[in-house]
Symmetry: C2
Subunit: 204 residues, 2 copies
């Protein structure tokens, strides 16, 4: 539509999203009011409403891109034929997504308002597809628990204050390694290599 090079309609709309992200990370979504967002921007509520007509719209704008990435991650992984490659691809994608949304991930995971939005969002099934890749086909109880701990653990580690000192690259690598230790296909006794795992595919 408009010339994308001349700052079409960015300023106010994006400032709302940035303020919302700050406050969502600090107080959760339900714990953040439009008044707080307006105050944080130094404007009034009405100015916020001019950009987004409902609070739901703001939330969707903030978390939408991450949800869409989830679907891309699931699709990319599905294109891998070997189980191991598919798992590697999905895990890499999830870790990358979490690293790039280090502040937001977990707050959003729990908020009842967000849960409702995700339920209605097209990306909803992607989460289940990725979980399926984590568990593998026909999983036993142990595989279910490992997948659950990895899914949850990655999300929680992404926002853990104890890991604030780690750089994105460092955290990314350790998250992948740790998750891989739990998820790697356990073909016979292959644990001769010790505890540490060789980094696979390479693309991170």
């Amino acid at each position: 539509m408009a010339d994308p090079g001349t700052r079409p309609d960015r300023p106010a709309r994006e400032r709302v999203m940035e303020a919302a992200l700050d406050l969502f990370a600090a107080h959760g979504v339900t714990g953040t009011s439009l008044q707080m967002i307006a105050d944080h921007m130094g404007v009034t509520k009405a100015a916020v409403y001019h950009q987004f007509h409902t609070k739901e719209d703001i939330v969707l704008a903030v978390i939408g891109p991450a949800l869409e990435t989830l679907t891309k991650v699931a699709d990319a992984a599905d294109r891998q034929r070997a189980h191991r490659r598919r798992l590697e691809s999905a895990l890499n994608g999830i870790v990358d997504l979490i690293i790039k949304n280090r502040r937001l991930t977990a707050i959003v995971q729990f908020d009842p308002m967000v849960a409702e939005l995700v339920r209605a969002h097209p990306s909803r099934t992607s989460i289940e597809r990725i979980r399926g890749m984590f568990t593998g086909a026909d999983p036993d109880a142990s595989a279910l628990v490992s997948a659950a701990m990895v899914s949850g653990g990655l999300v929680m580690a992404g926002i853990d204050p104890a890991l604030d000192g780690l750089s994105d690259e460092e955290l990314r690598r350790h998250l992948f390694d740790t998750a891989w230790r739990l998820l790697k296909p356990r073909t016979a006794s292959l644990s001769a290599s010790g505890g540490r795992v060789a980094q696979p595919t390479g693309r991170v």
Copy 2:
């Protein structure tokens, strides 16, 4: 004070706590109003206020016992002299706590209102003590990430709908095993036993 055998003052107070637990698990703490609790019990708000004078009191009554258990877990683990035994004890205690509060754990972990309450609660330092046992002394980045993923993963797995089919005993065992795989002291190459880990101390 009163005779503990003749149902002293239970009914209404406990009904409030049960209703609150149901709703906290479904909508989070901030997402649950006193009106919702009253409706869920089939009474009015005023009837709820007769039992608990503030919403904070209700939250504390619901999560307080779990917080106090955290301190007991940390104390019991600290009584173990060997690093390995201390870790086993702490992990057993945490897994047990999560199993026994399967519905509540994670919702409570994030809610901004709960976070404020925990900050002021005497059990606050216990969480850090247990985390310290998970990381071990003078931890490197890998140990920090493992501990973070275990702490978070246990909490998330406890409420994961994908694990609803598992019995408490089954889930308890797999949670411990999976966490142990990430936390067990890595002395030289000790991984000859494969992936599976023998259940330690016994007391669960």
